[in-house]
């Protein structure tokens, strides 16, 4: 009984599949794997649908893998089994591994071969440099780009009588102390795993090296030097604020993330990606006033551009010409001004090209809430032309180094390990990771 019913259902399904297929017969299917989830993941699906609806030659199949790391792991596993997608979204930390793998088709080659004209100089140089060879050839397409910002609860600032927004760390310390005095339990929310904003971005805008050889751009024999830069003082300062209760640990492990603490108005200052701008607008409690600003610098320091975060789209080797045609058409589609604007509007990610940004600016997109403030991310990214230490970070197995830094910050803050000792240890272990990486790819040339 059940069996016959199942059989009937299966038959019905296959019949409908048969009748439905002619509609797709003409289109080439190709896959795109991405690592965004939740609201952002749905926006990616929507983008795919827009592409599919816009033409009928190709059909993109978009598969979500929840996180950047899972996407990278699954893509590697698939690549080794020759089942890779045509396009994969790979995060900043996985860039060098992929670059050396030779597993990709360079962006320029792909577009030229398929007859698309791209003005490569149109990309913001600070964004392009992260995903380019040291000669400046873009290898992957910047996709969801962001940078780190700082968010202030302006109600709290008003209460302690601060005019405008703090622009230096001195001012941040001053308002945090005043907030504490005014009865706020948590002036600054701090997530020690936020290595990207608290360490990498700090180093960039203060023009501090993370590693020798131009942060690794000039060779695999680079060594980390973060235990000898201004970051030592910065971590000492963070420790001081933590001990005074001005900086409060908020993370997944404590039960409330730093972003959640900010939108619930429990914490008054948080540092996070510009991509969260839209989420904050949606989630902030009724009546709470807040604003976004560029990351503060120390007084007397010359500000440099911040680093681009997020991920880029890599075209993987081993697919058919037809699929590459489709991939190229997809890249071309998402670079169209109306698509750029739609993507930036619904997500908070920034436009990656100058014309994209200018078009949105001319339309008055950034003039009023809820999008006002997002232009500051572009200002931060393009503040100066990229320097040796602000064009990006090109270190092997960078995820392992990020973890070392996250552990180091926790050791200092929570276990009272002396700053210099903790950073020296992290540098030693990070360099061991780099030497191992160098040996794994011995003979490989960084281009």
């Amino acid at each position: 009984m059940t069996f016959t019913r199942l059989l009937a259902a299966a038959l019905a399904a296959s019949v409908s599949a048969l009748t439905a297929s002619p509609a797709f017969a003409a289109s080439t299917k190709f896959e795109f794997w991405y690592g965004l989830s939740g609201d952002l993941g749905e926006r990616v699906q929507e983008m795919c649908k827009r592409f599919n609806d816009s033409q009928n030659e190709y059909e993109i199949v978009c598969v979500g893998h929840d996180t950047y790391e899972a996407t990278l792991q699954n893509t590697i596993a698939a690549f080794r089994a020759n089942k890779q997608p045509a396009i994969a979204q790979i995060y900043d930390g996985g860039t060098l591994d992929l670059m050396l793998s030779g597993a990709y088709v360079p962006a320029r080659e792909l577009m030229e071969k398929n007859g698309h004209q791209i003005d490569w100089s149109n990309y913001f140089s600070g964004i392009a440099s992260y995903y380019s060879t040291s000669q400046g050839e873009l290898l992957s397409f910047p996709f969801n780009s962001s940078t780190a910002m700082i968010y202030y609860n302006t109600d709290a600032l008003k209460k302690v009588g601060f005019e405008g927004l703090p622009e230096t760390w001195e001012e941040v310390e001053q308002v945090a102390r005043a907030m504490k005095g005014a009865g706020y339990d948590c002036p600054i929310a701090f997530d020690p795993t936020g290595v990207w904003q608290w360490f990498e971005q700090f180093s960039a805008i203060h023009n501090q090296p993370i590693a020798t050889k131009g942060n690794g751009y000039e060779g695999l024999d680079a060594e980390v030097v973060f235990n000898k830069t201004k970051f030592v003082d910065q971590l000492t300062w963070l420790k001081k604020l933590h001990d005074e209760g001005l900086l409060v640990h908020k993370s997944k492990a404590t039960g409330e993330t730093s972003n959640a603490a900010f939108v619930n108005a429990k914490c008054q200052i948080v540092s996070s990606s510009i991509a969260d701008h839209g989420t904050f607008a949606k989630q902030a409690v009724e009546g709470m006033n807040w604003e976004v600003a560029m990351l503060p610098i120390w007084a007397g320091t010359e500000r440099k551009n911040s680093l681009v975060g997020g991920a880029s789209l890599w075209t993987l080797k081993g697919k058919s010409d037809e699929e590459y045609k489709g991939a190229a058409a997809f890249y071309n589609f998402i670079a169209q001004p109306d698509q750029v604007e739609w993507w930036s509007t619904v997500t908070g990610y920034i436009p990656v090209t100058n014309t994209g940004f200018q078009a949105m600016k001319a339309k008055g997109f950034y003039d009023k809430a809820p999008y006002k403030g997002r232009e500051l991310a572009i200002e931060s990214l393009t503040y100066t032309p990229p320097t040796e230490y602000t064009r990006g970070i090109r270190l092997g197995n960078f995820t392992a180094i990020r973890k070392e830094m996250g552990d180091t910050i926790q050791q200092v803050l929570f276990q009272n390990v002396p700053v210099q000792e903790a950073l020296d240890g992290a540098a030693e272990r990070s360099n061991a990771v780099l030497r191992r990486f160098e040996k794994t790819y011995q003979g490989a040339q960084l281009n």
Binding site: Q73, I76, D97, G102, T254, G255, Q410, F414
Partner: protein, 294 residues
């Protein structure tokens, strides 16, 4: 009396066990041999090639003080989780075996935790033990800072061990209960007639008679705490804070899949495999001798 069946056809027995052999080969021997090969090379993450490095990977693993910490931690984890889980399961089984009121219900209820997937339990326990939002977190309301697995490594490790032990109780409980119920009632009644109270009967009769089961559970628990702790730790602490819940199997995952150091992870896997084999061997060799199979 020994009974044996013989096959006249020499091919048939092989064909009969072939499905099992193929499964074992594909899912165990083949990956294990691959890991063995990687352990002696430096493997590129994307599969572009590798270089032979001999014992370098092992030298590096053994030369890393942090690695030894994870080994010690894994040992502590295994002992504590096994100890807690088996003791509680045995106590519960002894009570259920005594046919107290409500036994039938408890018999079923105690098994439930085993049916819960580790990550699901991890999420629940993370909430229960969360320092700010959780149930145990209310302790912090009374004594601020007394419980904080987010920053205190000992708290975090305790939290994971408790959860692991809790998950294993159901499994251990069924085996203990079955073993207890297999003890002939007559033996028990004889003891009672000779004037042995419940406690005496437990020590002199029940525990020795279920020793084979205890031994079996000991091996299974220790192996499982070495190899199955991954899901739980990944959900609850991700090895943190500062690596204080990083056990051997979690370090393998992190170095291999997140750090993309496939070779280092392969070398660690080999070490873990040898360790588990050695432990099992020791247990059979030394402990089994003292056990009397009824």
């Amino acid at each position: 009396m020994e009974r044996r069946a013989y096959y006249r056809n020499r091919l048939l027995p092989w064909l009969l066990i072939a499905p099992q052999l193929i499964l074992i080969f594909v899912f165990f021997y083949w990956p294990a041999s691959q890991a063995l090969y990687w352990a002696f090379t430096l493997e590129q993450a994307w599969g572009g090639g590798n270089v032979w490095v001999g014992f370098d990977n092992f030298r590096q693993v053994f030369g890393d003080a942090r690695y030894w910490n994870t080994v010690m931690r894994s040992g502590l984890y295994a002992l504590a989780a096994t100890g807690i889980s088996m003791t509680l399961a045995l106590v519960l089984a002894l009570f259920v075996d005594r046919s107290l009121r409500g036994t039938k219900i408890f018999q079923d209820v105690y098994i439930w935790p085993y049916a819960i997937a580790a990550p699901a339990a991890g999420v629940a326990f993370r909430f229960i033990f969360s320092p700010e939002a959780g149930l145990v977190g209310t302790l912090n309301g009374m004594w601020p800072g007394i419980w904080n697995p987010a920053t205190n490594g000992a708290h975090a490790l305790l939290m994971v061990i408790v959860c692991h032990a809790w998950l294993g109780i159901g499994y251990n409980f069924i085996f203990f209960l079955a073993a207890l119920q297999m003890i002939p009632r007559s033996m028990f009644e004889a003891g009672a007639m000779d004037g042995a109270g419940p406690a005496r009967r437990m020590i002199d009769l029940q525990l020795p008679l279920i020793a084979p089961t205890t031994f079996f559970l000991l091996i299974m628990n220790i192996i499982s705490s070495f190899t199955d702790s991954f899901g739980l730790i990944d959900v609850m602490t991700e090895g943190g804070p500062v690596g204080s819940t990083e056990v051997m199997v979690y370090k393998i995952y992190f170095d291999g899949f997140r750090g993309l150091d496939y070779s280092g992870a392969a070398a660690q896997s080999i070490v873990l495999m040898l360790l588990v084999m050695a432990l099992t061997f020791v247990q059979f060799k030394w402990i089994e001798r003292r056990i009397h199979y009824a």
